[in-house]
Amino acid sequence: MTETQDNLPLDTVSVAERLEAEALIVDVDGFEGPLDLLLMLSRSQKVDLRKISVLELARQYLSFVEKAKELRIELAADYLVMAAWLAFLKSRLLLPPDPTEEGPSGEELAAHLAYQLERLQAMRDVAARLMGRDQKGRDFFVRGIPEKMQSVRKVKYTATLLDLMQGYARIRTKDEFRPFILDRDRVFTMEQALERLRGMIGFAGTWTDIVSYLPDGWGDDPVMRRSATAATFAASLELVKEGKAQIKQEEMFAPIMVKRAERKSES
């Protein structure tokens, strides 16, 4: 069961009956369960809830349920459960106590029901007082222009002892190395070799060892010879790529031979 009883088939009763029913039970839809209904009925006794006649209340409730039945108003299950319980309570209150019967007496049950009603009423009263208080956004207000906390990023630098020692070692050991300076005097560049080869390849109609293309004076010093050989070899590959020369090597470590590319007749 929920707080609203919207399952009453009011359209099945006549308007006159409905009006009669409304006159009696005010607004069945408005009740929040049997306890709420009991609380409303108890007000008709016009006494302090502590002095309420539970017997009378039970009578009122049961007659309400009867009336609803007559009007074929379908009451939710827990209204009927409450009706059954109140009928039981009524009989307990009216009949002399049966010593063989166990459980609480009718008076105890009635007292607790009265307590429940009083408590519910008390909660409603304080709820009203609570809602009657000054409320934020209605009676009192917060700062209209709150200032946001600005987040300021602060950088903290750190280093470890290892960083420090490695840094120091780096400085103190760098003098141990001779800086690498390219010795241009003893290097024959590929550009130089290419320029030299371009001028000569046109005359190389036959296979010629690339060593014979080394510039003068570069064949004796091993370092110079190495540089010049490498440059000349690279330059000959460049010419092959351009389609101006052919290159071959008979076997591993055999001399590398170049000759002018034959344009017309493929050899």
Partner: protein, 230 residues
């Protein structure tokens, strides 16, 4: 290292930086200004800890608050206590000036208002207990709405069979209704004196809604006090 004139001068100069005790906390008047600035700047209540965290080392926000609260007594804005926190709010008698600032509070159903009141006065309270008091089951929507408004939150679970969750009211609830603490709820003392906040177990079987209620009698024995006593 030799102490020549220069180094002596140096070490004297350095002292203020190295010696923390020379940095005393700012005078109380200054601390009061700081608390004032922070509370003015924040729409949310600030705890003493929040304040101390933001203020320079050695400050005593709690004491500064006492002075500040006094300073704003009777003024257009007041320093108010909200649970464990503090805030500045406009004086309630001036609410009529604030039509522009009025926030439309979502209309609460009667069920929601009653449920809220029951939670506030009976906290920590289980759903079953709320249902017993109201005599009807509590719809999920009602609880959700109150949770969403941040007026209630989940409290500790009951150490009873099923370990049901409990509900308690929040600081936002206190703030909204201008309450310093849940102890200041209107009529709380009278209700307690009348025994209406007791958990009186039903003698036998009074019909109560839902099946959640079976153990409501046992589970309600503890807890009631925890929110109201400090």
């Amino acid at each position: 290292m030799n102490d020549d004139d220069l180094s002596t001068t140096e070490s004297e100069e350095r002292q203020p930086i190295e010696n923390d005790s020379l940095f005393d906390a700012p005078p109380m008047g200054e601390q009061e200004r700081m608390v004032e600035a922070i509370l003015f700047a924040s729409a949310e209540p600030q705890t003493v800890k929040d304040l101390n965290d933001r203020m320079p080392h050695g400050c005593d926000a709690a004491e500064a608050l006492v002075h500040l609260r006094k300073r704003y007594e009777g003024r257009g804005v007041n320093v108010v206590k909200v649970g464990d926190a503090w805030a500045i709010r406009t004086a309630p008698d001036l609410g009529f000036l604030m039509q522009k600032e009025t926030v439309e509070v979502r209309k609460l159903s009667r069920a929601a208002i009653e449920t809220l009141a029951i939670i506030a006065y009976h906290q920590p309270v289980t759903r079953a207990e709320i249902e017993e008091i109201r005599g009807v089951s509590v719809s999920r929507g009602t609880v959700d709405q109150l949770l969403e408004m941040e007026w209630i939150r989940f409290g500790r679970r009951r150490m009873t069979p099923g370990r049901p969750v409990t509900f308690v009211v929040t600081e936002e609830f206190l703030d909204h209704f201008g309450l310093e603490s849940a102890r200041d709820l209107p009529g709380l003392q009278e209700l307690r004196a009348a025994g209406l906040l007791d958990n009186r177990p039903p003698p036998g079987a009074i019909p109560t809604p839902g099946e959640g209620d079976v153990d409501s009698a046992e589970e309600t024995s503890e807890g009631q006090s925890e929110m109201f006593e400090d």
